[in-house]
C-alpha cells in the first residue's frame, strides 16, 4: 500500500488538501498513516495551547480613542491615492516605459522600408520582451552570486544578507508583474518559471537579516535542487531569440535615413 506523504497529511489536517476524500479513505484503512497524522496533530495541539492575552472588553473603544485624533476628516477618495509620492514614482516609471515604447517604435519604423509598419501590438511585445529579458538577466546574476557564495561552515558567525534581501524584494515586485502578465498572455512556461523564481525570492526576502553559514548553504542548495538558475537561463535565452526575431534587421545604409530627413 502506498502511504500518504507528510505534505498530504499536513494539507489534510490544515484543510487545504486537493484530494481530501481520497486521503480520508486511505486513513480509514491505514493504521500507519493514522498514527503519523496523530503525531502531526499532537504538535499542532500543543501549539494551540499557546495563550493569546485578552485585551479586555472595552479594547475596541480603547483602539478608537487612540486612533480617532489621528484620522483625517474624511477617508481619501480612490483618485487621491494616485497623488501619493510612492504612486507618483510608479506613474513616472510607467510614463518612462511608454516613452521608451514610443521612441522604440519610431526608431524601428524609421529604419524600415516605408511599406512595412509595425503594429502597436508588436511594439508592445518587443518592449515586454526587452523588459522581462532584463529582469531575467538581473535575476540570473542574483542567483549566480548567491550560488557562488562560499559560507564558512565551521564559522559560528552570522552572515548579514540584508543587501541580498533588498535586491530580492526589488526583483520580487517586478517578478509579480511579469508573472501576472505571462499568465494573462497564456505563456505557461514563462509563468511557471517566474512562479518558481518568485517563491525563491520570497524565501530570501523573508529570511532573517542575519543567518548562519549553514542557513546560507541551505539557500545555495535550494537554488541547485530546484534548478531555478537553469530554468531562468533557458527562458532568458529563449527571450533573447524572440527579441532577435522580432527586431527588424538594421538598414543597409544609414544614408537612406539622412536622405529622407533632408527631403
Amino acid at each position: 500500500m502506498k502511504h500518504m506523504t507528510e505534505e498530504e497529511l499536513i494539507a489534510y489536517k490544515e484543510g487545504v488538501a486537493a484530494q481530501r476524500a481520497v486521503i480520508a479513505q486511505h486513513l480509514a484503512a491505514c493504521e500507519e498513516c493514522r498514527a503519523e497524522l496523530e503525531r502531526i496533530e499532537t504538535v499542532l495541539a500543543a501549539l494551540d495551547s499557546l495563550p493569546v492575552p485578552n485585551p479586555g472588553d472595552d479594547y475596541g473603544r480603547h483602539v478608537w480613542q487612540q486612533i480617532a485624533p489621528r484620522l483625517p476628516e474624511r477617508p481619501a477618495r480612490w483618485w487621491q491615492e494616485w497623488f501619493e509620492p510612492r504612486r507618483l514614482s510608479a506613474l513616472g516609471a510607467v510614463a518612462a516605459l511608454i516613452v521608451v515604447a514610443f521612441l522604440f517604435g519610431r526608431y524601428s519604423r524609421d529604419r524600415r522600408t516605408p511599406d512595412t509598419s509595425a503594429s502597436t501590438e508588436q511594439i508592445r511585445e518587443r518592449v515586454l520582451i526587452v523588459a522581462v529579458g532584463d529582469h531575467l538577466s538581473r535575476s540570473e546574476m542574483f542567483l549566480v552570486e548567491l550560488s557562488n557564495a562560499q559560507p564558512n561552515l565551521s564559522s559560528e558567525k552570522l552572515v548579514n544578507i540584508s543587501a541580498e534581501q533588498r535586491r530580492a524584494e526589488d526583483l520580487l515586485e517586478e517578478n509579480r508583474l511579469y508573472r501576472q502578465t505571462a499568465l494573462q498572455e497564456g505563456d505557461k512556461v514563462m509563468a511557471s518559471t517566474l512562479d518558481e523564481l518568485e517563491r525563491f525570492l520570497l524565501d530570501v526576502a523573508n529570511s532573517p537579516d542575519e543567518i548562519t553559514s549553514a542557513q546560507l548553504e541551505k539557500i545555495r542548495q535550494k537554488i541547485e535542487a530546484r534548478g531555478i538558475l537553469f530554468k531562468v537561463r533557458v527562458v532568458g535565452r529563449e527571450l533573447q531569440e524572440r527579441q532577435k526575431a522580432t527586431t527588424p534587421a538594421p538598414a543597409q545604409n544609414d544614408s537612406t535615413k539622412v536622405e529622407r530627413n533632408k527631403a
Binding site: A11, S49, L50, P51, V52, Q80, R179, D195, R199
Partner: protein
Amino acid sequence: MIRMQPSVESTQTIADSDAVAVERTLAGDRDAFRVLVERHSHNVFRLAYRMTRNRPDAEEVVQEAFLRAYQKLGKFEARANFGTWVYRIAANYAIDRMRQRKKEEARKVEPAVREEGMENDPVALVHDAAPTPERLAHNIELRKQMEIALAALSYSERTAFVMRHWEGCAIEEIAAVLKSSSGAAKNTVFRAVQKLRLALQPFVGRGAQARAIGTES
C-alpha cells in the same frame, strides 16, 4: 447647547452591517468607522498577537491597520467584507513590524524568550490542577521551545501558519497577503508546519513521558 456624542449603540442601528458602516464613513460620518473599529478590534488583535508574539507590537499593528483602512477606504470595493480586508492590512503591517523588530533585536546578544503571561499559561496548567515539578518544568520548557520554533519561521511561513491554522483564512487570502500564487501559499503553510513539527516533536514526545511520571507519583 451641549451636543451629544452619538453612542456606539445609536450608530449601531444605522450601521448594522459593515457595508453600511463603510458607506457612511465615506459619506463623512466618522462614528460609523468607530463601529467598525469596535466590531473588529478583538479579531485583529488576536491575529496581530499571534504573528508578532508580543502585546505592544500587536496593539501597534491593530491601530495602524485601522488607520490604514480608513485612509484607503475609498479604494475598498468588496464592502461587505471589511473584516477580511482589515485582516489583510493588519497581516501586511505585522510582517513589516516583525522585520523592524528583528533589526532591533539583532543588536541584542541573545534573543529573550518572553515569559509574558506565563502565570496564566494554559500549557503550564494543562491536564492537572496541581502539576508535579517534572511536568511543570516540562511545560515551561515546551512553551519556550514553541516560542523559539515560531520565531525561527520566516515571516511568510509564520504569516501563512497563523492565518491558516489559527485564523482559518482561505488560501487565496493568504496568497494575497504574501503576494504569491495560491500554490506557493499552500506550500508555505506546509513548510511552516513541517518546521514546527521538526522542532517540537521531541519535546511533545517528552511531554507524554512527563505525564506518565506525573501519574505514577
